[in-house]
């Protein structure tokens, strides 16, 4: 049961949020996890989500936006069904991360933070994703793919296109 009337989230998510605000010493600590869950639920953090989260945490919408805009992993616009995040930080850069990124751009026909017209893929250049040992690496939604080569990327994209990739959210 949701404490917010007309919640925009699914009943499960709403229930989760109800609990979330109770488990920290201060209510506002629930802000960042709540934003992440909201993004997973809706694909991005919409204005309506901002409004409801502000209400739930009992802070101003402005406060929510201040935090939301700080983190580059939080989006305010929809991403593709599969969000491809290519690392170009030092280890990956040294092991060909930029080639992988360029390959993705070429292959998908989109640039940084763009979405393919069919809405299946979106592309992002990101900082270190903690997979340096197996660089170059990328993350598609919450799934990691490492030791990449352009060929491997092609296989991966085909796999996702065929609906065989894990759609972890």
């Amino acid at each position: 049961m949701s404490t917010i009337a007309n919640t925009i989230f699914s009943p499960e998510m709403a229930a989760r949020f109800d609990k979330l605000v109770t488990i920290y010493p201060v209510r506002r600590s629930a802000l960042v996890p709540m934003l992440l869950y909201a993004q997973d639920d809706l694909g991005y953090v919409s204005d309506a989500a901002v409004a409801e989260i502000a209400l739930r945490i009992e802070i101003l919408e402005l406060d929510v936006r201040n935090v939301l805009s700080y983190y580059s992993m939080l989006r305010t616009k929809p991403a593709g069904k599969y969000n491809v995040q290519v690392c170009t930080n030092i280890s990956c850069m040294l092991r060909g991360g930029y080639e992988i990124l360029d390959h993705c751009k070429h292959k998908l026909g989109i640039g940084h933070k763009e979405v393919t017209p069919d809405g299946v893929f979106s592309l992002e250049e990101v900082e270190c994703i903690g997979a340096c040992c197996w660089a170059p690496a990328m993350q598609i939604n919450y799934d990691f793919h490492d030791d990449l080569t352009p060929e491997k990327v092609d296989v991966l994209f085909q796999m996702y296109k065929d609906g065989q990739g894990k759609d972890v959210k």
Binding site: D47, L60, E61, L62, D63, R65, N66, S69, Y70, S72
Partner: protein, 798 residues
């Protein structure tokens, strides 16, 4: 706290432990540059400009966050520090355009000064600057993003200082940006806006020209103005405001209002009205020529001489034929004390009538009577800044007395003051209160009972359905406080007001204040613009000093409503209105004044002026000199800033009319002391000059008050005769406030059963009585607020 001793740049200094190094240095005359530090707001340490070298500490330290310690040895200006500051500046200038020649802040900018001092204008950064167009966040707040150095002063000022929280910071690193609370995508015009109180405090706090003011931007440069410290004409809080004035072809125009002179009772603060709503003075709608109605009923411009001659002759005729009692006088709430005093003296001694009143925005008569016979029981605005506990009954300071609200919030934030609020509305200040008692509609009388220990009316006090224990707990908490300022809203009056005060005066450590609208509402009452009270709340019936001195009839005159009733019955031969709009305020039927000779001193063609037979164009408070008294009884000096050709001060007009009536001028205005002054010479708008001249003359043992147009001559008389107004002359003239507490003389008979004529004005943030209607900026802000509300309702409905 005990004092500690430390060394700065080789000087031995002492300061209380806990003092911030930057403050300790400032007190000792050592300047440490700072961008993000702002006294009274939380510490940020964002800019690194204040770095100093402290012995035995690794790295340079920020003076704005370091408390002084015993034996500390500090260097504030070494090549190492200069280099660090220069590097900091280069970073801050990374996106900054250094467009000082066109920037509003140019000449008053902390960044400009520092860039100049440390020579950091050229930089090693080759990256292109990140330019953004300026944004109009509201009619008064503009944002030029590239100039912002991200010091967070505005964010803290708006949040901590104003309790509005309309500004935030978004993004990260070099793309960080100050953002207002209405994002572009949520605004009907797709532009970002602030939905806020429009106080402009963020603009004042901004160390650079990133936030600029809608009224001032791109109009002039700071060094092209004269800066005159005077008192805001709007609410009764009495903020000192510095007006930036520039000469024009027909006088002097006010271009800016701010609080550069932080010496006043308002310290840092000004609300939007003090800051922006001076524009009525520059309005093209102002009347600048005397107008007299001709035989066919048309108002025609005439010369001053003709107009005054006409008024003098008519008033004398009517007084002599129909008697002084057939004449009514209405004074205003924005007159100086000297003018108000002179007006009632003129009415009583020259017009020979006690039919004099003003729009009473709070019941100061009951207030003074309730405090009769006590001393030190009246609170000053200064008490709100530091009293450990404040009890607010009624009122809505946030909207009606913004400085009071600011002082309350600062007191809570900086001194942990405890605020107790009892109100029929859920006023915003309850957010800062320790306890809030939601009083049932019309429950103030029951509240007064409760406070005086009578629980019988408890039922009608609390909101229906609430536990009565809340009220009892509230009282218990309040009683436990040793020192309390009781702040009373203007809706409390008469018996209720007296009940609250009379009980409170019996408790130790209680002080009282009654809030009101308009700069000199309190002064108007203090100065006796009342039918039954002489100045200082001296009942007219008694043989007081004043009555003897004036040698007048001791029968109370007609009050405001009776004056217009008399007019309706054809018994009012003349009505003299000075700076007031009773026709609109009291809904007077214009037909009632058909057979009355009406003289109005006004700036604009108000509802009252439109009915006048003679309109005399008046100067406003920003164009005259004298003194005013705020709601608390704090007396302050008013200085002439603006000027408009063709208008005269109310003081001068009263004097001239009296002269034309053949009055004994020396008895009316005690000037000259034996010297013969030149009555024909007008000082008019120059009366400020006369004041300063008089100070010099007094100081040199020469003869001051050479002319009857010198308000200081009346101030002398106020000082001599008005109970409670024994003021400190030097304190006044040096621009400081002083607290006066005229209490009704307790040995005199008090009149009971007075008619309740108090009509609180309830002006909010964007209104200011009749005057406010002539401020284009206030009109803009009202419209802006209305469109925000409409947009919000739209979203809520979606």
């Amino acid at each position: 706290m005990p004092d500690v001793t430390f060394t700065v740049d080789g000087n031995k200094l002492t300061a209380p432990a806990g003092t911030l190094l930057i403050e300790a240095c400032k007190s000792a005359g050592i300047e440490i540059p700072a961008f993000c530090y702002y006294p009274g707001l939380s510490l940020q340490a964002a800019c690194r400009m204040c770095v100093v070298r402290i012995e035995k500490m690794p790295k340079l330290q920020t003076a704005c966050t370091t408390p002084v310690a015993e034996g500390m040895v500090v260097q504030t200006e070494t090549p190492e520090i200069a280099q660090a500051r220069k590097a900091t500046l280069q970073l801050l200038l990374g996106n900054h355009p250094l467009d000082c020649p066109v920037c509003d802040a140019g000449g008053e900018c902390e960044l400009q000064d520092m860039t100049f001092k440390y020579g950091a204008a050229d930089s090693f950064y080759a990256e292109p600057k990140n330019h953004r167009e300026e944004q109009k966040w509201s009619p008064v707040v503009y944002f030029d993003r590239p100039r912002c150095i991200l010091c967070y002063r505005c964010v803290r000022m708006c949040g901590e200082g104003m309790d509005v929280f309309a500004l935030g910071i978004q993004n990260r690193g070099s793309s960080s940006v100050i953002a207002p609370n209405v994002p572009a995508q949520m605004s009907p015009d797709d532009l970002a806006h602030v939905d806020c109180e429009q106080c402009g405090m963020c603009i004042d706090a901004c160390p650079v020209g990133a936030l600029t003011s809608g009224t001032y931007r791109y109009k002039t440069r700071p060094w092209e103005m004269n800066h005159v410290a005077t008192v805001c004409t709007h609410c009764g809080d009495g903020c000192k405001t510095t007006l930036g004035v520039r000469s024009t072809s027909d006088g002097a125009e006010i271009v800016r209002g701010d609080n550069r002179d932080k010496s006043g009772i308002n310290g840092d603060f000004l609300c939007n009205k003090g800051r922006y709503a001076f524009d009525f003075a520059n309005s093209p709608d102002r009347i600048t020529q005397p107008l007299v109605r001709n035989s066919s009923g048309v108002l025609l411009p005439v010369s001053w001489e003709q107009a005054l001659e006409h008024v003098g002759k008519k008033l004398r005729e009517l007084r002599d034929t129909r008697g002084g009692k057939s004449i009514g006088v209405v004074g205003g709430n924005r007159l100086t004390n000297e003018e108000a005093y002179l007006l009632q003296k003129f009415a009583r001694t020259v017009l020979q009538t006690n039919n004099i009143d003003h729009h009473r925005t709070a019941d100061y008569v009951s207030f003074a009577q309730a405090l009769a016979g006590t001393t030190g029981k009246a609170a000053s605005q200064r008490d709100i800044e530091k009293s450990p506990a404040i009890f607010i009954i009624g009122g809505d300071p946030t909207n009606q007395n913004p400085l009071t609200a600011w002082n309350l919030r600062s007191n809570v934030r900086l001194n942990k003051a405890r605020i107790y609020i009892a109100n029929t509305e859920e006023i915003k200040l309850r957010r800062n209160a320790k306890a809030f008692l939601h009083v049932a509609p019309f429950g103030y009388s029951a509240l007064a009972d409760l406070m005086s220990g009578d629980d019988s009316t408890l039922e009608s006090l609390v909101q229906p359905g609430t536990n009565k224990q809340v009220a009892l707990d509230f009282r218990a908490a309040l009683r436990a406080e040793e020192e309390v300022v009781v702040l009373i809203g203007s809706e409390l009056r008469g018996g209720d007001l007296k009940k609250v005060i009379e009980f409170g005066t019996k408790l130790p450590g209680r002080k009282f204040a009654l809030l009101s609208d308009y700069v000199n509402s309190r002064g108007a009452a203090d100065m006796g613009l009342l039918p039954d009270m002489l100045p200082g709340y001296t009942p007219i019936t008694a043989g007081s000093n004043l009555a003897t001195e004036y040698n007048i009839a001791t029968e109370p005159g007609l009050d405001m409503l009776e004056i217009f009733d008399a007019a309706g019955k054809g018994e009012l031969s003349a009505l003299y209105v000075v700076g007031a709009n009773p026709v609109a305020r009291f809904g007077v039927d214009p037909a009632a004044l058909r057979n009355t000779f009406v003289v109005v001193q006004e700036m604009f063609l108000t509802e009252t002026a439109a009915l006048a037979d003679v309109i005399l164009p008046a100067a406003n408070l920003y164009e005259k000199s004298g003194s005013v008294t705020n709601s608390y009884g704090d007396l302050q000096q008013v200085n002439k800033a603006g000027d408009r050709a063709g208008v005269r001060t109310d003081f001068e007009m009263i004097v001239r009319i009296a002269d034309k009536m053949g009055a004994n001028m020396r008895a009316l205005v005690p000037f000259g002391k034996g010297l013969h002054a030149d009555m024909g010479q007008t000082r008019g708008a120059q009366s400020g000059e006369a004041d300063r001249h008089a100070v010099w003359l007094t100081a040199n043992n020469l003869e001051p008050r050479l002319s009857p147009f010198d308000p200081m001559a009346i101030l002398d008389e106020i000082n001599r005769l008005v109970p409670g107004y024994s003021l400190l002359r030097l304190q006044l003239l040096s621009g400081n406030d002083q607290h006066l507490s005229p209490a009704a003389p307790s040995d005199l008979v008090q009149i009971t059963n007075r008619r309740d004529l108090v009509l609180p004005a309830n002006d909010g943030l964007f209104t200011s009585g009749t005057l406010g209607r002539y401020s284009a900026m206030l009109a803009d802000l009202q419209q802006n607020a209305a469109s925000r509300t409409a947009a919000a309702e739209q979203t809520a409905a979606d």
